[in-house]
């Protein structure tokens, strides 16, 4: 059984030189191997190359140098384009600009229709996907009347209907309010846990990144840190140096350590943080 679903090998990418401008190197030797079934967050500031990386994962962009493999298929192989895109689904930031149809279920059917799936199978795929994201009861609604979080869940359902093995989400919550953000994040987690779909979440929200199994930090087109969130967020100074922050819980413990304490920096949840502080206060 294969374990790696997405793999990049010394991936470089630069936008070609335009008049009066030099070619801009956006990805600078990225080696990444993503295991099937995992939940990986890619964290980085604006312009770090994280969205460009995402666009390489289903052949929207092709490498300037190096290779990208999806389930062993080279993304540069044009003959495999549809196979690659049905393996890796993409969800983008603005839900309005990825919904094609005027009715929820018809939008959801768009992918399978393109793949030439027989009608009665499409029906089942659509119903199943809408149920997974909890939007089945809205199947006959018009998308433009739904909330941002609901629209984004429709977009996720539209991708799920193609039965992808992996879903890449490029800042899916950036335009949402806290309620929408929570809805989408819970949907993403359920996707990974109950459906076994590999999830790659591109984000600059520390608290979202903290929920992943594995956290990849990017800066200036390179991966600068890679590991479980609990470990990565301990590198408070390194993260701050590249324009990122850490969750407030870690920040507090870090600030206390600067006063001479020696607290563990792995408290990502409120509970862990409270426990760490309680131990500190209890100690004599």
């Amino acid at each position: 059984m294969e374990t790696s679903i997405l793999k990049t090998e010394s991936l470089t990418f630069s936008y070609p030189a335009e008049e009066g401008k030099e070619a801009r190197l956006v990805l600078d030797g990225v080696d990444l191997d993503i295991e099937a079934g995992s939940f990986v967050a890619v964290l980085g500031h604006n312009g770090s190359g994280k969205s460009t990386l995402a666009k390489h994962l289903n052949a929207i962009l092709l490498p300037s140098g190096g290779k990208v493999y999806v389930s062993g298929m080279d993304t540069a192989d044009e003959a495999r384009l549809l196979a690659i895109r049905r393996t890796v689904g993409m969800v983008f930031q603005n839900p309005d600009n990825q919904i094609v149809a005027n009715v929820v279920e018809e939008d959801c059917a768009f992918g399978p229709e393109n793949l030439g799936v027989p009608p009665d199978e499409i029906r089942k795929l659509v119903d199943d996907s809408l149920k997974i994201v909890g939007m089945y009861s809205y199947r006959e609604h018009a998308p433009h009347l739904l909330s941002g979080g609901q629209k984004q869940r429709i977009a996720i359902a539209g991708v799920l209907a193609m039965k992808p093995r992996c879903v890449v989400l490029d800042e899916p919550t950036a335009m949402l309010d806290p309620i929408g953000r929570r809805e989408v994040l819970e949907t993403i987690k359920a996707l990974n846990e109950t459906q076994g779909v590999t999830v790659v979440l591109i984000t600059h929200h520390m608290d979202e990144a903290a929920q992943a199994h594995r956290l990849v930090v990017m800066s200036k087109g390179k991966i600068i840190s890679d590991g479980p969130p609990k470990e990565v967020f301990q590198q408070v100074e390194a993260l701050k140096a590249v324009g990122l922050t850490v969750p407030e819980t870690v920040e507090l413990l870090y600030e206390l350590n600067r006063e001479g304490f020696d607290l563990p920096l792995d408290a990502l949840s409120d509970e862990d943080c409270a426990q760490a502080l309680y131990q500190l206060l209890k100690k004599d």
Partner: protein
């Protein structure tokens, strides 16, 4: 002190008389004082967008009044026009309203509409560009060539250039990364202190609000259930949660810490306050344990 901006029993009903009738605001009384930094929090659909569009006369109240510097902004056409200039409103994702060939021209759009002379417009454009940290070299560039964060700062400068006494910003940091967020917040802070302007920021981020605002106004279902200092407002954790809002992370951690049995005051809401509280608690314990006490 007399409020610079005030609403009296402000109500707004959309599509009155149809089955889609929706009461977006119900008898809202809101005050903002000169030099104040006010935060408005509420989820999407709570009525906050409707509220802020009343404050500079973009929407007309169904009933009630909006007063700017004591004057009803709907008293005359001129009063409404003046209200637009006295109260500057920066919409969500303001970068999407840029339209001119150069940054300079775009920023000068507001001052031009005010009918100012060339020299004054020039002064204002340069000054507001400086407030948002845009170098002179950018002024002659096309706004569409700039990065997302820079575009947003151009748009904010476009409103600042009208030198409003009250600057209202709807989600000014939405979609930005931590560096971008800090930049915008410090731009707003600079304008606030330099001009002693009243700032009203609408935001979803409790943590951001906790750090910046002097006073918080919560809006829910077209009404204002809470209005007060952050400490007072965040004391209503459960009610805020039920409105889909919640409290800052530090407040949550400290509530948990208190529940564990530590003797801390849970009314902290920023990392800095939390740090102080822990250090103070340790110090108190140090002195009290000398006397044989415990936590």
């Amino acid at each position: 002190m007399t409020p610079i901006l005030q609403t009296e029993k402000l109500s707004h009903v959309y599509s009155a008389g149809t089955p889609f009738e929706h009461r977006a605001l119900v008898d809202v009384d809101l005050c903002a004082y000169p030099g104040e930094y006010l935060g408005i929090i509420g989820h999407t659909g709570s009525g906050k967008s409707t509220l802020i569009q009343h404050l500079n006369g973009l929407l007309k109240p169904t009933s009630g009044r909006v007063l700017v510097e004591g004057k009803d902004i709907w008293a005359s056409k001129e009063a409404t026009r003046q209200a637009r200039f006295r109260v500057g409103l920066v919409f969500q994702y303001p970068e999407y309203q840029l339209f001119e060939e150069t940054v300079y021209k775009d920023i000068s759009f507001g001052p031009k509409n005010m009918g100012l002379d060339e020299a004054e417009i020039d002064r204002r454009v340069r000054e507001s560009a400086a407030f948002v940290g845009l170098p002179d070299s950018v002024l002659e560039q096309s706004p569409f060539e700039l990065s997302g964060g820079q575009k947003r700062r151009v748009a904010i400068a476009g409103v600042i250039a009208m030198e409003p006494a009250v600057l209202i910003l709807d989600e000014p940091t939405a979609g930005l990364d931590p560096v971008g967020v800090e930049q915008i917040l410090s731009n707003i802070h600079d304008y606030h202190t330099a001009k002693n302007a009243t700032i009203i920021v609408v935001s979803h981020s409790m943590e951001e609000m906790a750090r910046t605002a002097h006073r918080l106004v919560v809006i829910n279902d077209g009404r204002i259930p809470f209005d007060g200092a952050p400490r007072e407002v965040f004391a209503h954790g459960e009610e805020l949660e039920s409105m889909g809002l919640g409290v800052p992370r530090m407040t949550r951690v400290f509530h948990r810490l208190k529940a564990l049995g530590a003797g801390v005051d849970p009314s902290v809401y920023t990392v800095a306050q939390a740090k102080e509280a822990i250090l103070a608690a340790l110090k108190a314990k140090g002195t009290s344990s000398d006397e044989g006490g415990a936590v």
